[in-house]
Symmetry: C2
DNA sequence: TGCTGTTTTTGGATTGGTCTAAATCTAGAG
DNA sequence: CTCTAGATTTAGACCAATCCAAAAACAGCA
């Protein structure tokens, strides 16, 4: 049983407008508008009078109406391809934190790595006139998408992956460096046969990892090179490692495309009766929370999703305030989190904290 | 180097309006509006003519303007308290899927369990005139918040937790039944000293679990009863289990508030030199993806976050179309996912799939 | 052809703010 | 006491759609 509303609420919506405030405070609509926007034009006594009226009448600012005449909506669109992945959860938390500080609010969409879904959402965002887009491009996104967004006059910050040629705004981890750190560490432990597991069809985030892998091997003068492509699920890791270990000269260590693949690989090793870290070192990428839960705990390249989210949000706000400034790429250095799965505990030789060159193609 | 735009795009925004379409097609603004909304009033030849003009001029529908005059914005607000938790990721994916099918789009906010942040966001949502709110209330939310939202005339669907007295719309798992399933299973395995680990300060989701725990014990006539309160982190599970196992008569099994606490508990057991599943059975709640990754794999009560998200979205749309219909509560039955951590493998006695009564206070 | 009853189409008001340029109001200088 | 620069305030157009009631077009029928 819904109880009756008290006070003046007019049945449906309160809908107190600037006009009402103006009448109540004995000033004009324009003055009230100025007060609402914190303009320094209005005199102190007037401001107080108006603010009192605003409070008294229970006024609610109508951003939709404001956006119609003004230019900004104070909204952003965020597209990720797998929100169920805790990595994106952390990233979205970072975005949310940075944006809400500035009074912005964001639409979220989960593209499920479908360019079609992604495009539908972007079109909807255009209709809602968001001030900008934070985009983790779906696998298979048309490389001209960024040009389309530019043609729309829609600021766009790419995250994690990047497409297109034009100079763009971007925030993401330095995958190249991350893989180098992993390989360097393994080499420091004495490994000479290091494989790389997984990686979607080509996109920047995959390419950077593969290049990191190849460059590292070359730098250390290692001959052994096995790069097994696949999608990026745990299932893949499980299958690939078993395939790999049955080869004539199996690797003594594997670096995995991400932690999910790494978990799968550890599972696969156990299935073969092998012990991760002892019979074959395993290193993941992302350092998700669960990395330290598994047994042995997973050594992983931490890519700091929360910080990436914050940076991306910062870039977006910057771009909105300066639409034609120079594009900026923020590439965060990852950090190797050493745990049991790479056998560091077993071979007490200290891991080298070697620096490698990062790059942004 | 940004290339010059072709065609008529006026420097900043294209901003083709209904007026332009109307002129181009030789009809009135009103007619174009009707075509856009798929009205059956307009004759077929006219419709085609207008649609051609729309395409020709590259018109973009302005939802902000439409919302100003019309009533709907086709937007919703979603508030969760920990988006980094994969449970919420899956839930948001479910919401997103159900909403995007209907052309709705949603603002997401992460309250971090702070009522202050939550309130700020809700006020912003009101200013943006969303059609409704999907709310997982933050810990410590003022119970009158729902009344406030009602007074605003803002439809609100509560998820996972619920506050307030008024009949409300709600979607969530049947925690009471879930805990009963867990306890029943343990009793079936021969356990008689079963503890419950964790749970925030009081809110519905905690209360339902505790009641489930107490009711189960009573139903099975068990004397042993240990309910350790704490927040819901892995750290808590780690600490609590060690405290518990050092008591004179430690439990032989623990049911945990959620999987995070359960992971912590398993860690704690290992720290004590004990084996989860053998020395003490552990059952979690949620059945997050990682449950089967840990060692031993975690037995857990699956609560189906994706389905809950879909249901909540469905409820929201229903409420928007019928603002004063009877409130509806959707309580999904959980399912016990048996794995190694409860020792089922060790004691081959079959688990009973006993039904218990669910309830919605 | 005139009349009536549907279909279609349309003008103009409306939504709730912001913007611009002009009006009004100070206070200090001459 | 008048004038003017600077500080406040305001009127009215404007943003891009929807809504309503009334006009126009069209058909069927006498």
């Amino acid at each position: 049983m819904t109880s009756k509303r008290r006070s003046s609420a007019t049945h449906r919506e309160s809908s107190v407008t600037l006009q009402d405030i103006a009448a109540h405070a004995g000033v004009s609509r324009s003055t009230v508008s100025l007060v609402l926007r914190g303009s320094s034009l209005v005199a102190e006594p007037t401001r107080l009078k108006v603010q009192a009226s605003i409070k008294a009448l229970g006024y609610v600012y109508n951003r939709g109406a404001a956006a119609l005449r003004g230019r900004r909506t104070s909204t952003l669109g965020v597209v990720v391809y797998d929100i169920a992945n805790p990595f994106f959860g952390a990233m979205v938390a970072g975005i949310d934190n940075a944006l809400s500080r500035e009074g912005y609010v964001s639409f979220l969409a989960n593209s499920e790595d479908s360019p079609r879904r992604q495009e539908r959402f972007l079109e909807r965002m255009r209709e809602h006139a968001v001030d900008g887009i934070l985009l983790c491009p779906a696998e298979g996104t048309d490389p001209t998408l960024i040009d389309t967004l530019n043609a729309w006059g829609m600021p766009c910050i790419q995250i994690l992956r990047h497409i297109g040629e034009t100079p763009f705004d971007y925030a993401g981890p330095d995958f190249h460096l991350g893989v180098c750190q992993a390989v360097d560490h393994l080499v420091g432990l004495g490994h000479e046969r290091i494989a790389f597991l997984g990686g979607h069809a080509e996109h920047s985030a995959t390419r950077e990892r593969w290049e990191g892998y190849c460059d590292s091997l070359a730098r250390h003068g290692l001959d052994y090179k096995r790069l097994l492509r696949a999608t990026v699920t745990r299932r893949d890791g499980f299958a690939l490692i078993q395939q790999l270990m049955s080869e004539p000269t199996p690797p003594t260590a594997v670096v995995c495309h991400n932690d999910m693949v790494a978990f799968g690989a550890m599972f696969g090793l156990k299935r073969l009766g092998l012990t991760p870290g002892t019979d074959c070192a395993v290193i993941g990428i992302d350092d998700v929370e669960e990395a330290e839960l598994v047994d042995p705990a997973l050594t992983s390249v931490a890519t700091h999703p929360y910080a990436i989210g914050e940076e991306a949000a910062r870039l977006a706000l910057r771009r909105i305030h300066d639409p034609k400034g120079a594009p900026e790429q923020v590439v965060l250095s990852p950090r190797l989190q050493v745990r049991g799965s790479c056998g560091a505990r077993l071979q007490p030789r200290t891991a080298s904290a070697q620096a490698a060159s990062g790059q942004m193609p």
